[in-house]
């Protein structure tokens, strides 16, 4: 059922210029590169990526070192899409004023990713992953109530900005294909998160009621528990609660205080205790098997290392391999199946003239 292999890459021959060099721009451009775009990354003067991040985010891209203003302008004028994550004004300061570029090439798409967007009172404020995560609202909901709010692992605020930038870049590029008009897309890390606060955001707006972080248990039937060989979790909707209770096999769970969805929250601690005991006696593999067999949403906390051997990911061909000086790395590849994707390799920087030789004329 996959697309015929004869299909070209969806972004074949699309020229993408990546400027800035942080995770947001690099992640957005990585997806475009994988789907066939000719991505040229202008390396920053000081590399902002860690070596591991570079192994993940740079394959499939051509690279140039920070080039002369003239070279940079020539690259920008030849590009179909520019993705950058410098502070507001930084692009213009390098001679690449977005409005002027847009005026000279109406079909050009520019995507800027910043902590707070291009304008507004915080626009010039600096940010890191954790401060952006805090300003986006998710952090207020994460961690234990008894302790300080907790940042989610990795660099989620930065990746979310990159994810939004990728989607917006492709969408604006599609618009340009239809109408000949690109756009300048203004991605704010804060806005990327502020609009994804589940029911808690709308509740705060509608009822004026603050939702407070609840650790690993939104409710007993929606939580994470220690199990025999690690941690596992359940996330049961009301219609799945009977199947979960049947799995536990505890006759007390037939009583109205647990059965009645409006009564149950008053007995959540008691129910949690039962779930702690039940999870504690079982392994992750047993729990996952019970979940799928009885159609109860059950998961297990697995590490990236465990996932490298995951049979589903293997069968679905999720990982790309990339050769590094330290050996062969395996990295997340195509984000979804159905459109042709090409794994890339790590490239050394080349002189801007090499790029311009192929970019100076349009195909």
């Amino acid at each position: 059922m996959e697309a015929p292999t004869a299909d070209p890459f969806p972004l074949d021959a699309v020229r993408v210029l990546e400027i800035g060099g942080g995770i947001p721009a690099a992640f957005a451009a990585r997806w475009l590169a994988g789907f066939g775009a000719d991505v040229v990354r202008v390396d920053p003067e000081t590399e902002g990526l860690t070596p591991d991040e570079a192994v993940y985010l740079l394959p499939g891209k051509r690279r140039v070192q920070a080039s002369s203003p003239g070279d940079l302008l020539a690259l920008a004028r030849a590009a179909d899409i520019i993705i950058e994550d410098g502070p507001p004004g930084a692009l213009a300061a390098r001679g690449l004023d977005p409005a002027a570029l847009r005026a000279s090439r109406p079909e050009l798409v520019i995507v800027s990713i910043t902590p707070y967007g291009q304008d507004g009172p915080y626009a010039s404020f600096p940010a890191t992953n954790i401060t952006a995560f805090a300003m986006g609202g998710i952090m207020s909901l994460t961690g234990m109530y008894q302790r300080e709010p907790l940042v989610t692992g990795g660099s989620q605020a930065l990746y979310l900005g990159g994810l939004d930038a990728a989607g917006a870049a492709i969408t604006a590029y599609f618009g340009a294909l239809i109408s000949g008009e690109g756009d300048w897309v203004d991605i704010s890390l804060q806005e990327s998160m502020a609009g994804m606060l589940e029911l808690y955001g709308p509740r705060g707006a509608y009822e004026g009621a603050v939702s407070i972080r609840s650790g690993n248990h939104v409710r007993a039937v929606w939580g994470l528990y220690p199990c025999a060989d690690g941690y596992a979790g359940v996330c049961a909707l009301e219609r799945q609660v009977p199947a979960l209770f049947a799995l536990l096999g505890d006759p007390e769970l037939d009583e109205p205080r647990f059965r009645d969805p409006l009564e149950r929250p008053n007995h959540d601690d008691e129910l949690q205790a039962k779930l702690y005991a039940w999870f504690g006696e079982r392994t992750k593999a047993e729990l996952l098997e019970l979940g799928v067999r009885h159609r109860v949403p059950i998961g297990a906390v697995v590490t990236p290392r465990e996932l490298l051997d995951n049979p589903s990911l293997r069968e679905r061909g999720f990982f790309d391999t990339v050769e590094t000086p330290d050996g062969t790395a395996r990295i997340p590849g195509r984000p979804f199946l159905g459109l042709p994707w090409r794994p890339g390799r790590l490239n050394e920087p080349v002189p801007a003239a090499d790029i311009l030789a192929t970019w100076s004329t349009r195909p």
Partner: protein, 406 residues
């Protein structure tokens, strides 16, 4: 007014809960016409996930549902009924995209898989977003956002560090992440169709999208066999980093001091002794001094004081404060839309801020089945007798059957 990029694109939206509706809210704001399809017997549980005792038509008055389903049209169709399935197959030729986030086997069980849809619309784009994808041994697992987070590797990376406990993110994080990626997939498939004339079947696994947001952890695992280390709110790349309590109830400030120089500057601004004993205990000393200095400070003032000095700081904005944030207000990020059953509330615009086309939420979420007539009669041209039959058979409806708690 400048044209929105997805104007003229019509999407049949079979998604429910959060991941899919989050994707189609974005696509609608980008200009697409989104037709949300629910069965009177199997409707979007989000409508009643939050109990609203004593409220009339609770399925039409949920802020949770109505926030994520604005700018869409509502069509009821029981796809498990032959007449409902037939009506859907009449609708598909009018659509560019069909999107669903059912469990992996549901669409095929309804005999509405890609090969069936392609027969009625050869260049249809089908986007499926099951938790683990349509193939592979885990495809039958039931997955919601928090489960996806565990199974993606991300939950193993989050924790305070002193107790060994992994943590979930405070939202069902897998959902909107998959939603953002699914919206991108729709746009990419439209580009491909524009270039080749062909549609495609996108098989998006929510777990895989989330794993792609921790790529460097797979590099560390595959090159060096590393497993995640919980560092709480610290970051070894920074000189110091943490989250500190400020004045007021549950008010916190996140702070990164990237260099010793930033620490000294922050210390001067906050009236802290910058001298450090030197050694592995320095971070604890910094934390204690910052905690002391910030405990009596207003979080907004402390945030602006430090940020204006070029030091990365951020308030841990809670779910009420974020709606009052002066910066988001200046950016016109929140929009209040009238709704026939609810008082207005601040709804977020898309993060895809196209500065020139300026996408803007246009209309409140539809009432249940609000557009039945417009679509069945207007778009598909069904006659009165046929629509009556659909109503009589319970294929369409103006209210859910047996609405209880989701």
């Amino acid at each position: 007014m400048k044209r929105l990029p997805l104007e003229g694109i019509r999407i049949a939206d079979l998604t429910m809960m959060w991941a899919g509706p989050y994707a189609t809210r974005t696509l609608a704001e980008m200009g697409a016409e989104v037709i949300k399809i629910e069965s009177p017997r199997a409707w979007d549980n989000i409508r009643t996930l939050i109990p609203q005792p004593g409220v009339d038509e609770p399925w039409n008055s949920s802020y949770y549902f109505n926030d994520y389903n604005r700018d869409k049209k509502s069509l009821t169709l029981d796809l498990a009924h032959p007449l409902g399935r037939a009506a859907f197959l009449q609708l598909v030729p009018h659509c560019d995209v069909v999107i669903e986030n059912y469990r992996a086997d549901v669409l095929d069980n309804l005999q509405l898989g890609y090969d069936v849809l392609r027969q009625v619309r050869p260049d249809i784009i089908l986007v499926s977003m099951a938790g683990y994808g349509k193939t592979g041994p885990e495809r039958h697992h039931v997955g919601f956002g928090p489960i996806i987070e565990q199974m993606s590797g991300l939950a193993s990376m989050t924790g305070y560090g002193d107790d060994g406990v992994p943590f979930k993110t405070g939202i069902s994080y897998g959902d909107p992440v998959a939603g953002k990626a699914a919206a991108a997939a729709v746009a990419l498939a439209l580009v491909q169709r524009r270039r080749t004339g062909r549609g495609c079947f996108i098989d998006l696994a929510q777990r895989e999208v989330l794993s792609s947001l921790i790529g460097e952890a797979f590099v560390a695992a595959s090159l060096r066999g590393e497993t995640p280390v919980h560092r709480g709110n610290r970051d070894p790349r920074a000189f110091a980093q943490g989250v500190y309590r400020c004045a007021g109830e549950e008010q916190w400030l996140a702070l990164t001091l990237r260099t010793r120089e930033e620490w000294e500057r922050a210390a001067a601004l906050l009236g802290i002794d910058p001298a450090l004993p030197g050694g592995p205990g320095d971070h604890d000393v910094i934390d204690a001094r910052l905690a002391d200095a910030l405990a009596a400070r207003d979080p907004q003032e402390a945030f602006e004081l430090l940020a204006r000095a070029g030091i990365p700081a951020g308030r841990v904005l809670d779910t009420v404060a974020i709606h009052d944030d002066p910066h988001l207000a200046a950016r016109r990020f929140w929009v209040e839309l009238p709704h026939p059953r609810m008082h207005p509330w601040k709804q977020p615009r898309t993060a895809w801020r196209l500065r020139e086309a300026d996408p803007w939420p246009r209309r409140h979420a539809p009432l249940f089945g609000e557009h039945n007539d417009e679509i069945l009669r207007g778009l598909l041209g069904l006659d009165e007798a046929r629509i009556d039959e659909l109503r009589r058979e319970g294929v369409i409806g103006d209210a859910p059957v047996n609405p209880g708690v989701g």
